[in-house]
């Protein structure tokens, strides 16, 4: 097997370890401290935010506008799909118009 294949398989192994690691550690505890509980409740918002915020600063007008429009639609309770489609339409339109 090529080096590339080995690297891919090693990458797959470490990735899998991250996906079971948190539970392997946490499931050893009978009771979870309230502060740990509060920390775990914050995980989705905290992690997902880091996947959006930096790329929002690197893009141009089209990217920023698409996030703003999507964000407003999401907040107005249009649901995940409505906001996503609105953001995507704004993005593609502005990229092709403004360039």
């Amino acid at each position: 097997m090529s080096t590339t294949v080995w690297i891919i398989l090693a990458g797959a192994l470490v990735t899998y370890l991250t996906r079971i690691g948190g539970d392997l550690v946490l499931s050893r505890f009978e009771r979870i401290h309230p502060r740990v509980e509060a920390a775990l409740n914050a995980v989705p918002a905290a992690v997902l935010t880091t996947l959006v915020a930096p790329v929002a600063t690197t893009g141009g007008v089209a990217e920023a506008a698409s996030l703003v429009v999507a964000g407003v639609m999401y907040l107005r309770g249009g649901g995940l799909m409505t906001g996503f489609v609105a953001g995507a339409v704004v993005l593609v339109a502005l990229r092709n118009l403004v360039g």
Binding site: T4, V5, W6, I7, I8, G11, A12, V14, T15, T18, R19, I20, G21, G22, D23, L24, V25, L26, S27, I32, P34, R35, V36, E37, A38, A39, L40, N41, A42, V43, P44, A45, A46, V47, L48, T49, T50, L51, V52, A53, P54, V55, A56, T57, E63, S66, L67, A70, G71, Y74, L75, L80, G83, F84, G87, A88, L91, V92, R95, N96
Partner: protein, 256 residues
């Protein structure tokens, strides 16, 4: 052990639903996968296209999607394959990008305590960002995360992801300008929606504000991919150490 929701919000309709009906649960999971599959599709195709462009064979490109199954780290991986970097550095970079999954695993482990350990560790292979977020949404709805629902969500996302790597690798060069179609920026738009989905959680706004600020600062100083872990840890630490009137107190009272 009985299932307990982490954040009891009004559990609408859950009385009428039979969560033991495996087929129905699987279909409910599949329905939830539709927006995820759509949002990730351009990214999956783009990955396949770029991987071949960076010198991977079609087989290696598909293998990477099928085994690592984590978009951002696959992108980082193929970027580094193009440069002359030591194999262990490459594996470490993949690990760094994927480190956030440790947190997903800890949180989803709580919601799936009623599964056997074997089922959990097979299922958690599929614990990608949207899989985790959708599972937590279900917890917030006051519904149990059943294995059938989880796999109904996971399998379409996974199978499309692997298929897209193949299609992108074989035909991606035919797309002249993928950027014009917004391929590279659809996932951030989708992730923003997922962030919004959790706005009812305690401390949501301060957590988002801190994670956003710190991850941007880290992005420009420490650099990618560390900004993800650093920004996430900052927001999580804020929630953990929030003074007594915050979420920790509430939970302490509930447990007392």
């Amino acid at each position: 052990m009985t299932w307990q929701p982490c954040c009891p919000i009004e559990s609408t309709m859950s009385e009428k639903i039979d969560f033991n009906d495996t087929g129905a649960e699987f279909r409910r999971g599949m329905r939830r996968s539709i927006p995820v599959v759509i949002a990730a599709a351009p990214f999956g195709l783009l990955y396949g296209t770029l991987a071949v462009g960076n010198g991977l064979t079609v087989g290696e490109t598909v293998l990477m999607s099928a085994t690592i199954y984590a978009g951002a780290s696959q992108m980082v991986g193929i970027e580094l394959f193009g440069q002359n970097i030591a194999p262990w550095m490459l594996v470490m970079s993949i690990f760094a990008v994927n480190f956030r999954h440790v947190l997903y695993s800890a949180v989803s482990g709580r919601a799936t305590r009623h599964w056997s350990r074997l089922k959990r560790y097979l299922a958690f292979f599929f614990l990608v960002d949207p899989q985790f977020a959708e599972a937590e949404r279900r917890v917030a709805e006051g519904r149990p995360v059943t294995l059938a629902w989880y796999m109904g969500l996971a399998l379409p996302i996974y199978l499309f992801w692997v298929a897209e790597a193949l299609v992108g690798a074989l035909f991606g060069q035919l797309i002249p300008n993928p950027e014009a179609l917004g391929f590279d920026f659809l996932l951030p738009i989708y992730f923003l929606g997922l962030v919004m989905e959790f706005r009812d959680r305690p401390l949501w706004l301060p957590v988002v504000a801190v994670s956003a600020t710190v991850s941007i600062a880290a992005y420009y100083t420490v650099g990618s991919p560390w900004h993800v872990s650093i920004g996430a840890v900052a927001g999580i630490a804020l929630a953990a150490f929030w003074p007594s009137q915050g979420a920790a107190r509430e939970l302490e009272e509930r447990q007392a």
